[in-house]
C-alpha cells in the first residue's frame, strides 16, 4: 500500500509529444503525458469517495451473506451442469445410474467371486453395492471439485460473484446424482432380500453429514486444484487407495476380528481405519440399510465367547457368519461413537475448508 512511488507529472500541457513519429516512441525516461491524475494522494481520494480496494479477500461475514444470496445460482448451476454432462451420451442421464452399477458389478466379479473377499460378511452383494455407492459420492466430489476453478474459468473471468459458489454447486451436482443412486440402491437391496425397516430413515442424517464433509473437502481441493495442476493428476490414486482402506469392498470388522485377518495384530491401525470419514459414513449407511449386517455387527448380541471364537476361526462358514454379533472387541468403534465421529469430521472439514477457500478468494482466475 505505497502511495509515494508515483512519478506521474500532473499539469503537463497536451500535445507535447506531437509529431514525434516512428514506432515505439515510448522511451523509459520520458515521463508520461498523463492528464487523468489529479493532484494529491490517490489513496486519500479513493477513501474520500468510499472506494474499496479490489483483489483483496472480502470480510468473512459479507462473503457468507454473498454466497447465501447466490443460492439460486448454485442450484441452477448444479442442475444445468448435470444436464450438460450427459448431453452427448446416447444413454444420457441413464449413466448416472449405470456408472455406479457397473462399478459394483466389476468389484463383485473380482472381489466377490474371484478373490472370495466376501468371507465373513452376510449378504455380500448388498454390502458391496452400498459401500460402492456411498463412497462414489465422496470420490466424485473430490475429483470434480479439484478441477472446478479451471473448468469454470470463463465464468470466473467474466462475472463478479463469490467463487465459493462453484465448489458448492459441484457438491450439489454429486448430491443430485447420489439421490438417484440411493433409489437404485433401495431396489437392489430389496431384491437381495433386505426388509424395509424404519432404520432406513437414518440414511438421511448420515448422508447430510457426508455431504457437509464433502463440501468442506471440496473447498480445500478446489483451492489446491486451482493453483497446482498436479493435484488432479494425483487425486485418483489417493482416492483409490482410500477406497481400499475404508472397507468398501471388504469388511474391516472381519479383517480385525478373525484370526486370519490381516489387521488382527494391529488393533490401533484397525481402529484408525474405521474412524476415517469414508469408513464412518459407509458403516453407518450399511447399519441403517442392511438388517442382517446390523444384526451381525460385533456387540449386537450379548457376549458369547464360544460363538465368537467360532466366528473368528471360521468366518467363511455360512453357519457362523453372523456370530460376529457375539464378539465384543474393544478395537471396534461402536455405532454411537461412529455417529459422533461422523458429525465431528463433517464440522471440522466444513469449517477448515471454508476458511481455507475464502482466504484465497482474490486469487482464483488469475494467470
Amino acid at each position: 500500500m505505497s502511495n509515494h512511488g508515483r512519478l506521474s507529472a500532473p499539469g503537463r500541457l497536451s500535445g507535447a509529444a506531437e509529431g514525434d513519429g516512428g514506432a515505439g516512441t515510448a522511451t523509459e525516461e520520458r515521463p508520461a503525458d498523463n492528464h487523468l491524475v489529479p493532484p494529491g494522494s490517490l489513496r486519500d481520494l479513493a477513501l474520500q469517495h468510499g472506494l474499496k480496494q479490489t483483489a483483496i479477500v472480502p470480510p468473512l461475514r459479507s462473503y457468507v451473506v454473498d454466497i447465501w444470496q447466490r443460492r439460486h445460482f448454485i442450484s441452477g448451476f448444479a442442475t444445468a451442469s448435470n444436464i450438460a454432462m450427459y448431453t452427448e451420451a446416447r444413454l444420457g442421464q441413464l449413466w448416472q445410474v449405470l456408472t455406479p452399477l457397473l462399478n459394483a458389478g466389476v468389484y463383485y466379479l473380482i472381489f466377490g467371486l474371484l478373490l472370495g473377499t466376501s468371507r465373513g460378511v452376510p449378504d455380500y452383494v448388498s454390502f458391496l453395492v452400498t459401500g460402492v455407492f456411498v463412497f462414489n459420492f465422496t470420490q466424485r466430489t473430490f475429483i470434480t471439485c479439484s478441477t472446478v476453478i479451471r473448468e469454470t474459468l470463463p465464468l470466473i473471468r467474466a462475472l463478479p460473484f463469490p467463487r465459493g459458489c462453484l465448489p458448492l454447486g459441484y457438491v450439489l451436482i454429486e448430491l443430485q446424482q447420489l439421490v438417484l443412486s440411493i433409489a437404485v440402491l433401495f431396489v437392489i437391496v430389496v431384491i437381495a432380500g433386505e426388509p424395509v425397516t424404519p432404520y432406513w430413515l437414518f440414511i438421511i442424517p448420515v448422508l447430510i453429514l457426508q455431504s457437509i464433509f464433502n463440501v468442506g473437502c471440496g473447498f480445500i481441493l478446489a483451492r489446491w486444484g486451482a493453483s497446482i495442476d498436479d493435484v488432479s493428476q494425483l487425486l485418483p490414486f489417493i482416492v483409490r487407495t482410500w477406497m481400499y482402506t475404508s472397507g468398501v469392498i471388504f469388511s474391516l470388522q472381519t479383517l480385525t476380528l478373525t484370526f486370519t485377518g490381516k489387521l488382527h495384530r494391529y488393533p490401533t491401525l484397525a481402529y484408525l481405519l474405521q474412524i476415517n470419514p469414508a469408513a464412518v459414513y459407509i458403516t453407518l449407511v450399511r447399519w441403517a440399510l442392511l438388517a442382517e449386517y446390523r444384526d451381525a455387527l460385533p456387540g449386537a448380541k450379548p457376549f458369547n465367547h464360544a460363538r465368537c471364537v467360532l466366528y473368528r476361526t471360521f468366518p467363511g462358514n455360512p453357519k457362523y457368519v453372523s456370530y460376529s454379533a457375539y464378539c465384543h472387541p474393544s478395537t471396534l468403534p461402536s455405532i454411537p461413537s461412529l455417529w459422533v465421529w461422523g458429525a465431528g469430521w463433517a464440522v471440522v472439514a466444513v469449517i477448515i475448508g471454508f476458511l481455507f477457500f475464502w482466504r484465497a478468494e482474490a486469487r482464483y482466475g488469475r494467470g
Binding site: M1, S2, N3, G5, R6, L7, G15, A17, E18, G19, D20, G21, G22, A23, G24, T25, A26, A32, D33, N34, H35, L36, V37, L42, R43, L45, A46, L47, H49, G50, L51, K52, T54, A55, D66, Q69, R70, H72, F73, G76, F77, A80, S81, A84, M85, T87, P154, L155, I156, R157, A158, L159, P160, F161, C165, A362, R363, G365, R366, G367
Partner: protein, 259 residues
C-alpha cells in the same frame, strides 16, 4: 469510479523454452531440488496511475502486448497487484473475447445462470431474460449449446448478459469487435445508457473509430506504461496513429463534426 494508484502487475508463466518438457528433465529438476526454472515473470504493468469518474467511458489503446487486457483484468479485481492498488466503488463485469461462459450449456441457461451469478433474484432474472435474448439477437440459437455459436454470436450474448444489470464498472475487452454493424450500434447505445446510469465503462479496441465514437477519455499504453492519457480523444488517437506510422485523421473528423 475507479482509482488506479501506481499499479504493477506481474504474471508468473509456466513452461517457457528453457524447459524441454520431458519427463526426464522434470525428474532431474526434482533431484537437483530446483524450483521450476520454467517459471518466468512477466512484468505486464509497470506503474500506472489514473482516475476515472462515474459516467466516464475510457478507451484503452496500444499495441498487442502493451498491457491493455491486463489492466482491465486488474481493474476487474481478477489480478492481484504486485505493488500499488486499484480502488473501485462496486462490482465490475469484464467482457473478454472468449465466446462462451459455460459452453456446454444452452444460451438460455447461460443467460439465467449469468443473471443469478451477478446477484439478481429469480424474479429479476425471469423478467430480464426476454430482454437479454432479444438484445443479443441470436434468435433460435438460444436453445443450442453455446459451443455451437459463432464467435460473434457468443460475444453478443455475453455482452447482453453482462450489460443486463447496471454494473458500476463495465470492462469491454474487444468483445464488440466480432459483432456486425447493427450490433455495434446497439452496443454503443447500451454503453451510453450505462454511462448515464453513472457507471464507468472501459473499452479496449483496436478499431480506433469505435473508441472515437464511444469514449470521452483515452489511455495510450506502451510496454506496460502510460504514454498519454487525457480527454483530448481525437488528439491522442492521432498521436497514436502517427506513432504507428499511419495517417492521423481524428482531429480533422472532430473539427468537421464541430462545424
Amino acid at each position: 469510479m475507479v482509482v488506479v494508484e501506481d499499479l504493477h502487475v506481474v504474471y508468473r508463466v509456466y513452461g517457457s523454452n528453457s524447459d524441454r518438457g520431458t519427463a526426464a528433465s522434470a525428474l532431474l529438476r526434482l533431484i537437483k531440488r530446483q524450483r521450476r526454472p520454467s517459471i518466468r515473470e512477466v512484468h505486464a504493468i509497470r506503474g500506472m496511475s489514473f482516475v476515472a469518474y462515474r459516467g466516464d467511458a475510457v478507451g484503452v489503446i496500444g499495441r498487442n502486448g502493451s498491457g491493455k487486457s491486463t489492466l482491465l483484468r486488474a481493474v476487474a479485481g481478477l489480478l492481484p497487484a504486485e505493488q500499488g492498488a486499484v480502488y473501485t466503488d462496486g462490482n465490475a463485469a469484464l467482457l473478454g473475447v472468449n465466446a462462451a461462459l459455460l459452453e456446454d450449456l444452452t444460451g438460455e441457461r447461460n443467460v439465467v445462470l449469468g443473471c443469478l451469478a451477478m446477484g439478481m433474484t429469480k424474479q429479476e432474472t425471469m423478467d430480464a431474460k426476454p430482454r437479454i435474448v432479444d438484445f443479443s439477437g441470436v434468435g433460435d440459437f438460444i436453445n443450442l449449446p453455446m459451443k455451437a455459436y459463432s464467435t460473434g454470436m457468443g460475444s453478443r450474448l455475453r455482452f447482453a448478459i453482462a450489460s443486463a444489470k447496471s454494473h458500476d464498472i463495465l470492462l469491454v475487452d474487444e468483445a464488440l469487435a466480432t459483432g456486425d454493424a447493427e450490433f455495434q450500434r446497439k452496443s454503443h447505445d447500451r454503453i451510453d445508457e450505462l454511462r448515464q446510469q453513472a457507471g464507468t465503462v472501459f473499452l479496449v479496441a483496436h478499431q480506433l473509430s469505435e473508441i472515437y465514437e464511444t469514449c470521452n477519455r483515452v489511455i495510450w499504453l506502451e510496454k506496460g506504461k502510460i504514454v498519454k492519457a487525457g480527454d483530448d480523444v481525437p488528439g491522442i488517437l492521432d498521436d497514436y496513429l502517427v506513432a504507428a506510422g499511419s495517417e492521423p485523421r481524428f482531429r480533422e473528423l472532430a473539427a468537421a463534426r464541430v462545424e
